[in-house]
């Protein structure tokens, strides 16, 4: 009997239509847990570095995770992974919603898609019965609309459906996979799904997920529940509203957006509008939001309310995903929040990433204003800001005219356009658009996270450590008083010492050594969440979360029957991270790629930055080039990875 996991993957060959239910090796669970952990292992074993995103051999894996489907609150992530068309590295966009748990109840941990279907299809998983069905009639349909159409067609209102829209069908590099009130957006997994000819995967499951020591598991959950209640009733002091609670930023609940709209950059991640949040704007935005939000909603088994059902004027109803509320409006320089409710509806139906896409549209506007793109490229485009964004979005997802170039994202588009357009691609890391933040002083923690993480998206790396130092000693002392999530007591002193200005401030403090420790801890938390299936909003992404290094091992042990302690858990997280890195190294990623956008901070410190990277690499057990050393890999039971890297000449003599 397998506990917590189902012990089976579904392997589907889209070209032959062959479907197999494959039992997995329990040993792999001990080594990699599940979710992203076990998916990375499959990619390493089966996808050689020559395989490109749109090659048939590129695997597209839809994974549930180890604790999804158990009574653990907020454990509901689907981790989609594949070689990204945009970065050429392994991307792993994740989504909440309801799909992941349904897959577990249907009896599978993962759905592994390989090759390409000769015609558009969707996959219908109904417990043991799995079908590949014709999707010709769904071609061109919206990603939200498709979910409803499939439920109706199957006459199964309880089926959970993950679908792509036009953007995925047309292999746009920022295409998302939409599902319920969430989406797997970053890195272009939707494009790979479209390339494989798969419009959607519907799933319905009515089987049991087993717990090894259920009563013990529930005892641990009692403590978690009490802490969730406590945190919901006691928001943190001295931090922005949006950071004070737990869950993803409660964007649909909160109306105070002063911090986001004045601290983040507008347009193509260009300009902070420091006096934007006037009384008038505040009133109009509150009015707009209250009229649009019909109900606050959550993902599977989560008490929070990060999403909302949106019913705005004549716009088709849809469900909002937190920060999308701001990205399009800010990128378009549209001051009226009403625009957001309208364009998000269209963007979600098309199925595009809400971080990358608005930036790409703003990038096109900039190029037009600079005369690099011309009237010919913009023929037929309305001149008002709102109309222009709708028009560009329509072109992009259809790959029409200039849209065909923009659909590859700012990095590739800039290089295709040339004529100096490269300069306008200023906010990508490893070819991937980043959050629209531009700041003053280089920050050691963020420098490391931006430069080095496999996620290539900052919001999925940061979290448990405050984003900025507290202004006063009293606030710092107050914050460390009750901080059980820390891996070690010494971290409290790190925070106490951290000041807004002076020698204990950015860019000198945290020192490279301390920064490495803090970043290593935060990254490990994300890796653990992604293997277990927890929403980062209830764990790695938020301050003082309900789930952390000290209670995770207890939950995993009780659910699976494995005996796991904190060291064991961190070792697994390290194994997963190093294997992921090796996969990317094998595809050519190296130190030269590990850098934040050049203009991310106004004040840069090349020497300090160089030292940060070197110190961090050493701390992680990586070579000067950022390749895991033989010694490190062996320590993590990844000797076979070291051998492979040596054979390929990526790990050279003297680097171990």
């Amino acid at each position: 009997m397998r506990y917590a996991e189902t012990g089976f993957n579904l392997e589907i060959d889209l070209s032959s239509g062959n479907i197999e239910k494959i039992e997995t090796d329990p040993k792999l669970t001990e080594l990699h847990l599940g979710g992203l952990g076990t998916s990375v292992k499959i990619h390493w074993d089966r996808v050689p570095p020559e395989v490109k995103a749109f090659d048939p051999e590129n695997l597209l894996i839809f994974s549930s995770a180890l604790l999804v489907g158990t009574p653990a609150y907020s454990c509901n992530r689907t981790i989609v992974s594949c070689v990204s068309p945009q970065t050429d590295l392994l991307c792993y966009p994740m989504m909440g919603g309801f799909w992941s748990a349904e897959l577990k109840y249907a009896g599978y941990d993962k759905v592994i898609l390989r090759n390409k279907s000769p015609k558009p299809v969707y996959i219908w998983i109904n417990n043991d019965k799995v079908e590949i069905r014709d999707a010709a009639h769904l071609k061109g349909k919206g990603a939200v609309e498709t979910q409803e159409l499939i439920r109706e067609e199957l006459n199964e209102p309880k089926a959970q459906v993950a679908a792509i829209g036009l953007a995925g069908e047309n292999r746009c590099f920022t295409a998302s996979i939409e599902q319920s009130r969430s989406s797997a957006s970053r890195g272009g997994a939707g494009a790979v799904m479209g390339d494989k000819g798969v419009k959607a995967i519907a799933v319905r499951g009515t089987k049991d997920v087993y717990l090894a020591r259920g009563a013990e598991f529930m005892e641990h959950m009692k403590e978690v529940k009490a802490y969730i209640k406590f945190r919901n009733e006691n928001p943190l002091k001295d931090v922005m509203t949006i950071l004070a609670g737990i869950g993803s930023p409660q964007e649909m609940l909160h109306t105070d957006e002063k911090w986001h709209v004045e601290s983040f950059a507008w347009g193509n991640a260009r300009e902070r509008r420091k006096n934007f949040w006037t009384k008038e704007i505040e009133e109009s935005w509150i009015r707009s939001q209250l009229s649009a939000v019909k109900r606050l909603i959550s993902c599977f088994n989560c008490p929070q309310q990060c999403g909302a059902l949106i019913n705005f004027g004549d716009t088709q109803r849809y469900m909002m995903k937190c920060f999308s509320k701001l990205t399009y409006g800010m990128a378009a320089y549209v001051d009226n929040l009403d625009f957001s409710w309208k364009i998000c509806q269209r963007a979600f139906e098309y199925g595009v990433d809400s971080f990358s896409t608005p930036q790409i549209l703003a990038f096109a506007v900039e190029l037009y204003e600079a005369g690099i793109l011309t009237d010919k490229d913009f023929a037929g485009c309305p001149s008002d800001k709102e109309g222009r964004f709708f028009w560009l979005l329509d072109r992009l997802v259809r790959r029409e005219g200039i849209g065909d170039i923009l659909a590859d994202g700012t990095y590739w588009a800039a290089r295709k356009i040339g004529k100096g357009a490269e300069k306008y691609d200023h906010n990508t890391i490893k070819k991937h658009e980043q959050m629209n933040i531009k700041l003053g002083m280089m920050d050691p923690l963020y420098y490391l996270m931006f430069s080095t993480n496999e996620k290539i998206s900052i919001t999925q790396i940061e979290g448990n450590w405050p984003q900025v130092p507290f202004a006063t000693k009293e606030a710092r002392e107050d914050f460390v008083k009750d901080w059980p999530q820390l891996p070690d007591e010494k971290f409290k002193q790190y925070l106490l010492n951290w000041e807004p200005r002076g020698e204990y401030a950015n860019p000198y403090y945290p020192t490279p050594e301390i920064a490495s420790e803090i970043v290593d801890w935060m990254e490990a938390l994300h890796n653990i969440d992604d293997a277990l299936g927890f929403c980062a909003g209830m764990a790695s992404f938020c301050l003082k979360p309900p789930y952390h290094l000290h209670n995770y091992p207890k939950l995993v042990s009780a659910a699976t029957g494995m005996d796991l302690d904190e060291n064991g858990l961190r070792k697994i997280a390290g194994r997963s991270r190093n294997l992921h890195r090796a996969f990317n190294n094998r595809r050519g990623m190296t130190r030269a790629d590990e850098k934040p956008p050049e203009d991310h901070w106004k004040h840069r410190f090349p020497e300090i930055e160089e030292n940060l990277l070197t110190t961090y690499y050493k701390f992680k057990g990586w070579s000067y080039d950022g390749i895991p050393t033989k010694e490190k890999l062996q320590e993590l039971d990844l000797g076979y990875v070291a051998e492979d890297l040596e054979k390929r000449g990526i790990l050279k003599d003297g680097q171990n």
């Binding site: 009574p71 087993y210 259920g214 529930m218 059902l309």
Partner: protein, 179 residues
């Protein structure tokens, strides 16, 4: 018949507060698993959140009595411009739909308010809902005493209705002989 005191247990459902997370379904199925908390399967839950996300419908419904046959007519409600599917508010486990039935055997499920030894403070779904959608209330009423069949008898009677007494007896004997 004599009058007796009966404890009336009610779960008040404030459906407007429901965020659709289905924590109630999860905990119900875990609590009623044998042994307790050994498995989770919302399809076995005796509470189901009837959901139509885009229509703004999230209605937690508890499993009530088993009905041998479906109603002669069906009902469909429209409340505050929202049209609910047929039988949305009905609690019966009945042949018209696939709700409140054990997924393997098809046998009916019924909410038992988590009656347990020692007694639970509140039904588990109420405890698991952190949005105060489900509120537990108790009161006492004077009622006529009546004799009610036990669970086992109800279950066997259903099987008799479905397969006939002979087939059921044969099967029971066969199972008993196999040990």
């Amino acid at each position: 018949m004599a009058k007796i005191k009966k404890k009336i247990k009610t779960i008040r459902v404030d459906a407007d507060k429901c965020n659709g997370c289905r924590a109630c379904e999860i905990i119900c199925s875990a609590f009623h698993a044998e042994p307790k908390y050994s498995s989770v399967n919302p399809a076995r839950s005796r509470i189901q959140v009837i959901t139509h996300r885009l229509r703004d419908i999230w209605v937690p419904v508890f499993a009530g009595e088993y009905a041998e046959a479906e109603c002669l007519g069906r009902n469909k409600y429209v409340i505050e411009e929202k049209e609910y599917d047929e039988c949305t508010f009905c609690r019966a486990s009945c042949p018209s739909r696939n709700l409140f039935k054990e997924p393997d055997s098809g046998l009916p499920l019924k909410c038992d308010m988590c009656e347990d030894e020692p007694p639970q403070e509140e039904p588990l779904c109420v405890q698991a809902c952190l949005n105060d959608v489900l509120i537990y209330e108790e009161r006492e009423e004077d009622v006529e005493e009546e004799v009610r069949p036990e669970d086992l008898e109800t279950g066997l009677k259903l099987l008799v209705d479905k397969y006939g007494p002979q087939k059921l007896t044969d099967t029971l004997i066969r199972i008993a002989q196999k040990g």
